[in-house]
């Protein structure tokens, strides 16, 4: 099953082992200390938006690689940052949901 990149996609309803993929029509730019996601094609839901990521958001984005799941990224986060598992899971789930709503990631089970 694949989640279409459309407004309102909700990954919270997916099994936590769904594999997450970035769409290929988005460019990541690191400029003046900011990490930006810039969609380049109109089949991306929010083409007129630029997404500014903080350090954690960047970490999650970089680990959405077609093989990691929400669960896998939570584990990686706990290994990398000083953060409790429950908090990390809530953050990753929320962030991945936002990315899906913006049409920037898809999930496959």
């Amino acid at each position: 099953m694949s989640i279409a990149p459309e407004q309102g996609s909700n990954l919270e309803t997916l099994p936590p082992d769904a594999r997450l993929s970035r769409i290929d029509q988005v460019v990541v730019r690191d400029i003046a200390g900011e990490t930006l996601l810039i969609p380049i094609r109109s089949n991306v839901a929010q083409l007129d938006s630029v997404f500014v990521l903080n350090e954690t958001g960047k970490f999650i984005w970089e680990n959405i690689d077609g093989t990691n799941s929400v669960h896998g990224i939570v584990t990686l986060m706990c290994d990398t940052f000083e953060v409790a598992g429950e908090e990390a899971e809530a953050d990753v789930t929320e962030f991945v949901g936002l990315l899906a709503s913006a049409g920037l990631v898809t999930a496959t089970v």
Partner: protein, 429 residues
């Protein structure tokens, strides 16, 4: 983790950061100087079949330059001309820029836009598109462009972009030919739900011809246009206040160039020459013979840091923040970067006196109290004040009824203080 911030705040944050670490955030690429129109006021157009086309950068050269500028930190790219669609491969160039994640603005006259181009732009949306109108009526438009049929082609292009919901702004330039139709053009744009802007600041051609000045308005006519719109004089007042603190920055007060050129922006000519801006023609770095990094970090840095060699009235001018004059304009008009252009100085002083700004005497400035042209410029100001009351859109303050605040030091503004068209103020929220 995905902060939602307004576009203007985002832009200010990025631009603010580069004043301590020069970064070419904004790069203007003049794709070609060839154009199907022959506008009387244009500063750089060439005929469509001009042999210069053989010297224009190739697609492969653009790919290399886009890689280099992306590496340097460029985010905003402006493609301008000439007419950008005069190059048959423009969409290929554009696509390469999109792939690098630039936020792209297109300046075009719209006359070459067809369905194929419009469809492509709808799929790969630019950040902004700006089309210049050269008149509200066909007669005026084609009097300036000197090309029959160009009015209809422009309007067709506008419609094609509108049909696809593309982010379009319309604009015009105030000239002796267009001045009586400016506000009809604004109404046309606003009826279409589009933003509109105009500017009357014109300069000679980059090939040294003074011909555009034949259709340039007088400073009094430029300011009179402001008075016909309730919004424009308050906007000048805001501009004055917003960037006033920046005047004490050594990058403004002591250097020949005082804008964001060479600090946060630069331009690339159709032939691969890197300059401070599209108007600056003397100091050029050849990107065909050296990398953009070298041009930016060494050549343009030296150009931007050039210190003034003589005291000029601009050094201590407290209304410089709303002046449209600059070193590149001086270079074009007088062949000397350091000689202030009277057209801009006079226009700025008329606006300032109308706004009620309390200008101090300055022996180097002929428009200040006690100087030789003070009484004469006050005659113009009085006449314009009378016209402002007649038009009734904006009420000038009582003369000398306002003083500059002196007891507080505003926080330093490190924004881009280049005046004129603010080409990025199109997306908000």
């Amino acid at each position: 983790m995905i902060p939602q911030i307004g576009y203007n705040e985002f832009s200010r944050r990025l631009h603010g950061s580069v004043f301590t670490d020069r970064t070419p955030l904004d790069v203007t690429f003049e794709i070609t100087r060839r154009c199907p129109l022959t506008c009387l006021h244009c500063y750089n157009n060439l005929p469509m079949n001009d042999p210069a086309r053989r010297s224009e950068l190739t697609l492969d050269e653009y790919k290399r330059l886009f890689d280099e500028f992306a590496e340097l930190g460029t985010l905003w790219v402006l493609f301008t001309g000439g007419e950008i669609f005069a190059r048959p491969d423009f969409l290929e160039i554009y696509t390469e820029a999109k792939k690098r994640g630039f936020l792209i603005t297109l300046f075009t006259n719209g006359t070459l836009i067809n369905e194929k181009i419009a469809d492509y732009l709808a799929e790969y949306r630019p950040f902004a598109i700006e089309i210049t109108l050269y008149g509200h009526t066909r007669e005026t438009y084609e009097k300036l462009t000197r090309i029959p049929g160009s009015f209809d082609r422009c309007h067709r292009g506008i419609q094609l972009l509108l049909d696809r919901g593309l982010p379009l702004t319309l604009k015009t330039v105030g000239t002796t030919i267009t001045k009586d139709e400016i506000y009809e053009m604004r109404a046309f744009a606003e009826n279409l739900g589009l933003d509109f802007k105009f500017d009357s600041m014109m300069n000679p051609r980059i090939d040294c011809s003074q011909s555009p000045l034949d259709v340039r308005l007088t400073p009094e006519e430029v300011v009179e246009l402001d008075l016909k719109d309730a919004r424009r004089m308050p906007e000048w007042d805001q501009l004055y206040g917003r960037y006033r603190a920046a005047l004490s920055n050594p990058l403004v007060s002591e250097t020949v160039y005082s804008c964001g050129g060479g600090i946060a922006s630069c331009a690339v000519s159709p032939y691969g020459e890197m300059t401070i801006c599209v108007l600056s023609q003397v100091d050029r770095f050849d990107l065909r013979n050296g990398p953009a990094r070298e041009g930016w970090h060494h050549f343009l840095k030296e150009v931007r840091m050039l210190q003034r060699t003589q005291p000029v009235k601009c050094n201590s001018c407290e209304i410089r923040s709303m002046c449209s004059g600059c070193a590149a304009m001086s270079e074009l008009e007088y062949g000397d970067k350091e000689v202030p252009v009277d057209f801009f100085c006079r226009t700025n002083h008329i606006r300032a006196y109308l706004l009620g700004l309390d200008l101090k005497p300055n022996p180097l400035c002929e428009y200040r109290p006690g100087s030789e042209r003070y009484e004469e410029i006050q005659t113009s100001v009085a006449e314009l004040r009378r016209k402002a009351e007649e038009y009734g859109h904006w009420t000038p303050p009582t003369p000398h009824g306002r003083s500059l605040p002196v007891f507080q030091t505003p926080p330093p503004q490190t924004d881009d203080f280049c005046n004129g068209f603010n080409r990025y103020a199109v997306a908000e929220g």
